[in-house]
């Protein structure tokens, strides 16, 4: 009659099944149900986000051109010391490769690729290809050097040898202003070719400034929202979210109209006698910062609001009753509890700023262009997927590094 004991007994006649196994069986249907619920999104994300992302990142180290175009040369250069000119077989192999591919686009892309590292290589290679086949009876080495004496230089062969592998650090190094010298060592790029470190530093710095202003302006708004009665808070919330209802492009255009030299702001300030002549407010850093802060502000307000909403107002009262003056109470009791919101909002805005493209492109001068602008430049204008991918990779790594720092200091395990 004891039903509890009956339930504890193993099934009659069967082998004894451990309780854990039975539990797992019982839970299996539910687990499968959960998996089915998330499967569509998971597959969607995998197909249109993770997979393209990985293949793009792959392009930052992808180096198929030389090995595809010059297979014999690549084979001949295998095991070459790199300290002296390669022997006759390498020259002969190159001549054979060139002859086979003469006039094809494969050769052209290989030439273009190597030309990135050694200026003038494109004309050298394509020029040599035009002269193929070499006159018979003469060693290929002498004939090639006769065609162009650069074939007798060590650097020419080293750059070929470096690119015989199907992966290259070239794009990533270039995106960080590094170069590879003739001996294969990594060195700082020559001063006239350094640009990317400055761009990365600028991108980071602009993102810091934008994040700072967003937090500074967003914090009081979020506090107000969290402390007002629901009726007022809802209205304020609509005002905060209003910018989301218009496209970024429209908002940027509106800022141009508002901030330009003949715009209402400058006109008003001149009329009021605050300034003598219109101040340049757009197509420089001022315009970029104003518009970026405006566009990104809701992204700080919302996480801050949700965190502040969870902070009990009696905590401030408790601090006051314990003798702590109002501002100190706020600082010691309220503020520390908003840190997760500050962390989340700041991180969100920072990451979004790091990838900002359209606002600086439309509202800034060349001095305000951020890393994404150059990603777009390489993909749209010079069709250099390697550089575009390398810059994207560095942005992604910087973002992930920030996220790790965030998780370390503001993550759920750290904040109570």
């Amino acid at each position: 009659m004891n039903t509890v004991e009956d339930a504890m007994k193993p099934p009659a006649g069967g082998r004894e099944v451990p309780l854990k196994v039975r539990l797992r069986r019982a839970e299996r249907a539910r687990t499968l149900g959960y998996l089915a619920l998330i499967a569509p999104l998971a597959i969607f994300v995998l197909l249109i986000f993770v997979w393209p992302l990985i293949s793009l990142l792959q392009r930052s180290v992808d180096n198929p051109e030389v090995s595809a175009a010059l297979p014999r040369t690549v084979a001949a250069l295998h095991g070459w010391s790199g300290h002296e000119l390669p022997g006759e077989p390498a020259f002969a192999a190159l001549a054979a490769d060139l002859e086979a591919l003469k006039g094809t686009s494969e050769l052209a892309s290989a030439a273009k690729r190597v030309n990135m590292e050694l200026i003038g290589f494109r004309s050298l290679l394509l020029g040599a290809a035009r002269e193929m086949p070499l006159a018979a009876g003469k060693p290929a080495k002498d004939a090639m050097i006769e065609l162009d004496e650069r074939w007798g230089e060590l650097a020419t062969w080293q750059v070929l040898a470096r690119n015989r592998a199907s992966v290259t650090p070239y794009y990533l190094l270039t995106a960080l202003d590094f170069a590879i010298d003739d001996t294969g060592a990594v060195i700082n790029a020559p001063a006239e070719r350094t640009i990317y470190r400055a761009i990365l530093v600028r991108t980071l710095w602009m993102s810091v400034i934008v994040t700072f202003w967003c937090l500074l302006l967003g914090f009081p708004v979020a506090y107000l929202l969290a402390t007002q009665p629901p009726k007022v808070a809802n209205l304020l919330m609509i005002l905060v979210l209003l910018p989301f209802w218009t496209s970024v492009l429209v908002r940027v255009a509106a800022w141009i109209v508002l901030l330009q030299n003949e715009g209402p702001l400058n006109t008003a300030m001149v009329r009021l006698g605050l300034i003598d002549a219109p101040v340049q407010l757009v197509f420089n850093w001022i315009g970029v910062y104003i518009a970026m802060v405006h566009i990104l502000l809701p992204f700080t307000v919302l996480p801050l609001y949700s965190v502040m909403k969870g902070i009990s107002p009696t905590l401030m009262r408790a601090a006051l009753s314990l003798g702590c003056p109002p501002f100190a109470s706020f600082w010691k009791v309220y503020f520390p509890q908003t840190l997760p919101g500050i962390g989340a909002g700041g991180l969100l805005v920072f990451i979004l700023s790091m990838g900002y493209y359209i606002t600086p492109a439309l509202l800034g001068s060349p001095k305000e262009q951020m890393a994404s602008y150059f990603v777009a430049f390489y993909t749209n204008e010079t069709i250099n997927w390697g550089m575009a991918a390398a810059l994207s990779t560095i942005l992604l790594v910087a973002t992930l590094a920030l996220y790790v720092i965030y998780a370390r200091y503001f993550g759920p395990a750290k904040v109570r």
Binding site: S312, R317, A318, C324, P326, R416
Partner: protein, 366 residues
Amino acid sequence: MMQKNDGEVLVSFRNVQKTYDGETLIVKDLNLDVRRGEFLTLLGPSGSGKTTCLMLLAGFETPTSGQILMDGQLLNTIPPHRRNIGMVFQNYALFPHLTVRENLKFPLAVRKMPADEIDRRVARVLAMVQLEQLGGRYPQQLSGGQQQRIALARALVFDPKLVLMDEPLGALDKQLREHMQIEIKHIHESLGITVVFVTHDQSEALTMSDRVAVFNHGIIQQIDPAITLYEEPANAFVASFIGESNSLSGTVEQLNGEHCVVRLDSDARVTARAANLGGTGTRTVLSIRPERVLLGADASTCENRFSATLKEMIYLGDQIRARLDVAGTADVMAKTSVAHWDSRLQVGDRIDVGFPVANLRALEPM
């Protein structure tokens, strides 16, 4: 800690009024003295003004008119953080980002006490609430009862002049609540502190308090020790709010000093003790506790004796509750011990019922 010094007034409210919307007064003309060293409970239904009263005292609300004095000093203009009043909040309000020890250090650090003094005091209050081992924990790692004790310790650690408690036990389960009531009472007794305690739970108020102020509609209905409140309620509200009570309405016919004769609505006459009555001809509510109603042979010598019909019996183990129809009044409850009960009685039987004059109080109607 402060010395118990009965009778001396620590805090007084003088003609205090409070309104939030400018239309209805939440607190109407409050005059209340809190004596040094006493445990005073403000008891009342929600919306009766008791919590507002506490907030006025803590300084989180300002009186619309009137004065609040503490130690003869006008409190109205002193901000909450300079009042030196400890407070225990309903949901504890422990700082979640600080450990228990840091929570307890908080009021002392604000007062810039030397570090060794702070450590000494924190150790002392932790020992007082018997949670010495939990100093390094965060509040959410503690149980509700433990959090409650830490909140209490935090409100006491800086030796405030007065400790306010705003329904501090409301979130605890019944058993723990009763345990904490005794514990708070003992702490109050051993430290001699002055406590103003707000609750809507009458048994809590009766258990813990030296005096209880019963609030309704922003007015103190009665302020007295528990026994007086229960046995001699000042009006019908207090009688019905504190404990269980039978109410019979009628009109005063004669008033002879302490006693009066009341004609019930069923024309029956009873003699009762008069409390705060207007005069002859005024309406009154007669109140008697169920355990004071006499049944059967016990009622034979009683001046106010009626024949009643037994409508229902409820067996409660140690006692029996009977629902009766008495002299045209339905649902009069009587409570008697099982030993006293005549087991032959059946529902529908006639039974003698007596209302002793000493326990039947004629009160001002609500």
